[in-house]
């Protein structure tokens, strides 16, 4: 135990003396947190919509009015010539175009199946789908009003027809602020970088300069060397997490509903997995560059398969199965549940055991691979 202490002190001393390392650990993540906190948003606002009104009737103008009053859409006028819309979409001046054909009002009055064309730029499928959703909702409301007006002119019994009025309440994040959803995700990624990347780099650096061989000829056991490499970075990781969370709470006003001690405990469990991976990577490579590439590979895979950007439910079945092997998936789940819902262990025990299992597994694997002697 005493010997591990010497290793830990040595490691922390080295980190504290390295100005670059300190910047990487403490300044860079805060910058990332601020920039990403603002940049990564799933709220789709101010979509440009092009409206081509060939009808020019009072009904069509009323419809356009509704589009203008929608906070998510910005209406751009367009010349009403045939085939005039496509070049605008092509040049990216609008994401969506609405074409109201001639005789729209007449067909509506005569029950002659009035039609409206919606053209969507599908390059960004997500934005396209959201834009289509906005348009459909406006059109639906419009049709409902048309219908109501007509029913008024019919005998009294028809007036008793009722439409369903959806009454929705959003829980856990009432304002649907995506920043509340993103900050925990960003924190988890920063933590992964610190623990996995720095651990593997620090071990491989010692391989490169030859001090690892010097350690290997001492009576230290592999487990002691590994403990000496993991404890400092676990401490730094937790410290970093505390700073990032404080920042998230004070700056972005992200609420933390759940228990802080539980959060610390679950984070420590995640850090274990991430550190284990860092050590595992260091046993696979010989240079810091290779360690960086390998860590990058794990990091990108973890992020994309974590549900951070893309919901896991949308992934094909076999990819969903793979995500169960992704520690970041569990950690992001834990952070979001804890931050926003205030979930306790009764909900999160599955994630806890998955992380513990993975952490133990990867640590055992790394320790077995971490030979004091080259075969």
């Amino acid at each position: 135990m005493n010997k591990i202490w010497y290793l830990v002190i040595k490691e922390l001393r080295q980190v504290m003396r390295d100005a670059n390392m300190l910047r990487v650990i403490f300044v860079v993540p805060l910058i990332q947190l601020v920039v990403l906190g603002y940049a990564i948003t799933t709220d789709i606002k101010n979509l440009d919509i092009l409206i081509c009104d060939f009808d020019g009737s009072s009904t069509s103008r009323e419809l356009i009015e509704r589009f203008s009053h929608n906070e998510y859409l910005t209406v751009r006028g367009a010349p009403c010539k045939p085939n005039a819309v496509e070049p605008h979409l092509f040049r990216g001046e609008a994401v969506v175009a609405l074409v109201i054909p001639m005789d729209f009002e007449r067909d509506l009055v005569n029950n002659a199946k009035p039609e409206i064309q919606i053209l969507i730029d599908g390059q960004n499928s997500n934005t396209g789908a959201v834009a289509l959703g906005y348009c459909n909702r406006i059109l639906l409301e419009f049709m409902q009003d048309v219908l109501e007006k007509r029913l008024i002119r019919t005998p009294a019994f028809a007036r008793s027809i009722q439409f369903i009025q959806p009454v929705s309440r959003v829980w856990y994040n009432p304002e649907l602020k995506s920043v509340y959803y993103m900050i925990p995700g960003i924190i988890s990624i920063l933590l992964t970088i610190i623990t996995m990347l720095l651990t593997s780099l620090s071990i491989v650096k010692e391989k490169e300069i030859g001090t690892l061989a010097q350690l290997m000829v001492t009576p230290l056991t592999s487990a002691q060397v590994i403990a000496g490499k993991t404890i400092p970075f676990a401490l730094l990781g937790l410290l970093e997490m505390a700073i990032a969370m404080t920042f998230g709470v004070l700056w972005f006003k992200v609420p933390i509903v759940g228990s802080i001690p539980l959060l610390a405990m679950l984070s420590a469990t995640y850090i274990l997995t991430s550190l284990g991976l860092g050590i595992f990577i260091s046993t696979l490579v010989d240079t810091q560059q290779q360690a960086l590439f390998m860590s990058w590979f794990f990091l990108v895979t973890f992020i994309l398969l974590s549900g951070f950007f893309y919901p896991i439910e949308n992934m094909p079945g076999w990819v969903q199965v793979i995500t169960y092997g992704n520690p970041l998936r569990y950690f992001i789940e834990i952070l979001r549940e804890l931050f926003l819902k205030g979930a306790g262990l009764s909900v999160l025990w599955g994630e806890l055991f998955s992380l513990l299992g993975m952490g133990a597994g990867i640590f055992i694997l790394a320790t077995l691979r971490f030979h004091k002697r080259t075969a």
């Binding site: 135990m1 005493n2 010997k3 202490w5 010497y6 290793l7 002190i9 040595k10 001393r13 080295q14 003396r17 390295d18 300069i209 030859g210 001090t211 061989a213 010097q214 350690l215 290997m216 000829v217 001492t218 009576p219 230290l220 056991t221 004091k372 002697r373 080259t374 075969a375």
Partner: protein, 256 residues
């Protein structure tokens, strides 16, 4: 961790053996390349045993097998009485090792490096301080204790590396080209220290390709392409080949 088995002072059994190192048929292959080819030799207790050879002759590979950094492909050996194939972890507390490349922490001070390596070998702060005081007259450590290791001149770095390797009083010391790149005066100084250590009973296993350094060794092994071409004391070797300089003999053996 402070078990007596790890305390070098309690290694009475090993010290009683006539040979500190014995090697039989030691071989190491890297793919098709045979780096060390079936070598055998013995190193006596308290002897300075020189391993002489050109770059790539297999000197470093041999040392790495003896100190438990590299698994031998075949052959056997004992260091301090322990099997290099199976008991390499028991060998480690009993040896000191100074590698070819300077491998202490540049971003720690000299004193911190000493405290760290001392601690890793199970010495507490007071014991390390005591050892530094003992070694001070020869290695002048107190003058550099607070200096960052990176800023030290190479000769000081080498002395510091030696100090780190002998803090725990290892009965056997492995030095892999310890004087590479050091000026002749510092090199002379260094060898005086090695001789003093050997006089105190430490077995020193040293590799070099400086021929004049061969003269400091009690016995020499000349290695060429993974094999041992000659083992004997410098005077005996000179007598055998009827040459006055080890360098001439070396070139004669390598050119053969």
């Amino acid at each position: 961790m402070g078990r007596s088995a790890e305390n070098p002072a309690a290694l009475g059994n090993a010290a009683a053996l006539p040979y500190a190192v014995t090697v039989r048929g030691l071989t190491r292959r890297f793919g098709d390349f045979v780096a060390v080819d079936n070598i055998s030799f013995d190193v006596r207790q308290g002897e300075i045993f020189g391993f002489l050879g050109a770059n790539g002759a297999g000197k470093t590979t041999t040392i790495r097998m003896l100190i438990g950094l590299l698994k031998p492909s075949s052959g056997s050996g004992r260091v301090g009485g322990y099997d290099i194939n199976r008991e390499q972890e028991k060998i480690k507390p009993r040896i000191g090792y100074m590698s070819q490349r300077f491998s202490l922490y540049d971003d720690l001070t000299a004193g911190e490096n000493l405290a760290f390596f001392g601690g890793v070998y199970g010495l507490n702060r007071d014991q390390v301080a005591g050892r530094i005081a003992e070694l001070d007259s020869a290695l002048l450590l107190s003058a550099i204790a607070d200096r960052m290791t990176a800023s030290l001149p190479l000769g000081f770095k080498q002395r510091l590396a030696l100090a780190c390797a002998i803090l725990h009083r290892p009965p056997i010391l492995f030095l892999d080209e310890p004087t590479g790149g050091v000026d002749p005066i510092a090199r002379r100084y260094f060898w005086d220290l090695i001789s003093a250590l050997a006089a105190d009973g430490t077995t020193v296993f040293v590799t070099t390709h400086y021929m004049e350094e061969a003269e400091y060794c009690h016995r020499l092994s000349i290695m060429y392409k993974g094999r041992i071409a000659e083992v004997d004391s410098p005077p005996a070797i000179k007598k055998k080949y009827r040459m006055t300089s080890i360098e001439d003999i070396f070139i004669h053996l390598v050119d053969r």
